[in-house]
């Protein structure tokens, strides 16, 4: 796959959800490199108009969920319409139902989007936390997001990991003292997320972003 050739064609349009969190520069450039035209937006009309939507995120679950709360119904509508919805890092964790992180912050009532039922749990005591650095992806089942990927390394930074209620939601796993889901997807296949940062994972990450752009192009 020639990334330069792809990027000149603008295969699909992607809306990155701007809910006031962090640095969106790298994910924007990565998606552009992968062939997308990118809009950073909080306007639900733009989510609808785009071929696919990215829910980015760094930081804490509770803040993330609260910041994104005004857009909750619009994000659920994206999933409902069958549009591709790609959560990255905290954005992936927000696709699930709850997080131990919100509970330790004294507020168990904060719920995620519940598009992939499950909970986010903290790595065990005694492990170095955050899990920070390059770790290997073991693909557990087919999904267009992992086309051409298996055994490569991706860049992780996180202290909690997703545990979907339904094991079949796990697309790839990674080993950090225990095997945890590093890519998850819903049953319909249009809602998915990576715990790692594809925009920081070198060529492997770009391949995943190209796969995402293809998914968006096919969904048109």
């Amino acid at each position: 796959m020639e990334s330069t050739a792809v990027s000149e064609q603008e295969l699909a349009s992607v809306a990155i959800v701007d809910y006031g969190l962090g640095n969106l520069r790298s994910v924007t450039r990565g998606l552009e490199r992968a062939g997308a035209s990118v809009e950073i937006t909080e306007d639900p009309a733009e989510f609808r108009a785009a071929d696919g939507v990215v829910l980015p995120g760094v930081g804490a679950f509770r803040e993330g969920v609260e910041n994104a709360d005004p857009l909750r119904e619009d994000l659920l509508a994206v999933a409902d319409r069958g549009q591709p919805l790609f959560g990255i890092c905290l954005g992936m964790q927000m696709l699930l139902t709850t997080s131990e992180e919100a509970e330790t912050a004294g507020d168990a009532s904060v719920t995620g989007l519940d598009l992939i039922p499950g909970t986010n749990v903290r790595f065990a005591e005694g492990q170095k936390v955050p899990h920070m650095g390059w770790n290997e992806l073991a693909v557990e089942r087919d999904h267009p997001l992992v086309e051409g990927i298996d055994g490569e390394h991706a860049y992780f930074v996180h202290s909690y990991y997703a545990v979907p209620d339904d094991e079949s939601a796990t697309v790839a796993t990674t080993d950090y003292d225990r095997r945890f889901p590093s890519i998850v997807a819903n049953e319909a296949g249009n809602v998915f997320g990576t715990q790692f940062h594809p925009e920081k994972s070198g060529e492997t990450g770009l391949q995943i972003l190209r796969n995402f752009v293809e998914i968006c192009a096919d969904a048109e």
């Binding site: 962090g22 640095n23 520069r25 790298s26 450039r29 990565g30 490199r33 760094v58 930081g59 804490a60 492990q127 170095k128 936390v129 955050p130 899990h131 920070m132 650095g133 390059w134 770790n135 290997e136 390394h153 860049y155 992780f156 930074v157 996180h158 080993d175 950090y176 925009e199 920081k200 994972s201 070198g202 990450g205 770009l206």
Partner: protein, 270 residues
């Protein structure tokens, strides 16, 4: 399995024409021109670097502007994590640096002078992007808090400021624990004694910090070759090894370093 990270460090200064340039030094002094930072970042990315550390060593307003533009150029084209340090003292400095495309900021003097900066930065942007850097110096007196045996002598490690020019009396191990409890997501351990010597990392220093905290530790200063990386991973427990001159001057490539480690069962990203 989580791999050990190999990180080239790029010290950026301004050349006589005000353009960004990479310099490499010994004991934080005697700097030698090494190359163009953006070109070097591209080359190291191709060679398999796991991350970059960029340090603005100009400590001037012009230097800072130039540094941010270097970071922008690198971040737009190189898709691996970037840590940027040098002269960061306020939440606004952190914000500006992250906005230019850095994933993490490295803070030394700014945090020693006002430790609350760590809490404020972690709260605003997340612990994962706050790297606390120490420039440690060995001291063989009884003024420290944590002593280790170095060649039969009792030694402690002092945090210094301003690139090693000023002592603080603060024990590195205590400071590392405090930085972690305030929300630092990673610790970056430099040694004034080992810097540029190529005699190996300061193992007692790195080990003392690794044993005291549970956040990831980047070992820095003194790397003379792949065997020094091996030693700091196995004997000190570091999570990442940083090097400048061995890579900049082409003595060892990142590939060579990684295959040396791989042959000795150190997990690396090949």
């Amino acid at each position: 399995m989580l791999t050990k990270r190999i990180i080239p460090c790029i010290d950026v200064d301004l050349d006589d024409d005000g353009n960004p340039a990479v310099y490499t030094g010994v004991h934080f002094q005697d700097l030698e021109y090494t190359g163009d930072p953006v070109e070097m970042a591209h080359a190291y990315n191709e060679a398999g670097a796991d991350e970059f550390v960029f340090l603005d060593i100009t400590a001037s307003a012009d230097g800072r502007e130039t540094m941010l533009s270097v970071v922008e150029q690198v971040a737009d084209e190189v898709f691996i994590p970037l840590t940027v340090g040098g002269g960061i003292r306020t939440v606004e400095d952190i914000k500006e640096t992250l906005r230019a495309g850095a994933d993490k900021v490295s803070i030394t003097t700014g945090a020693l002078e006002r430790p609350e900066l760590i809490n404020e930065g972690a709260r605003a942007f997340g612990s994962q992007c706050i790297v606390i850097s120490v420039d440690a110096r060995r001291r063989f007196d009884d003024e420290g808090e944590h002593f280790v045996d170095v060649d039969g002598e009792s030694c402690w490690f002092e945090c210094t400021k301003k690139g090693g020019r000023e002592g603080t009396g603060i024990d590195v191990v205590e400071w590392a624990k405090e930085a972690e409890s305030r929300g630092a997501g990673e610790l970056f351990v430099n040694s004034i004694d080992a810097d540029g010597t190529k005699d190996g990392y300061d193992i007692p220093l790195t080990k003392a910090v690794c044993d005291a905290v549970s956040t990831p530790v980047i070992a820095s200063s003194g790397c003379g070759g792949p065997e020094d990386m091996y030693e700091v991973f196995t004997d000190a427990g570091a999570d990442a090894g940083l090097a400048a001159s061995i890579f900049h001057f082409g003595e060892y490539s990142i590939e060579e370093t990684k295959s040396y480690l791989d042959e000795r069962d150190i997990p690396v990203r090949l």
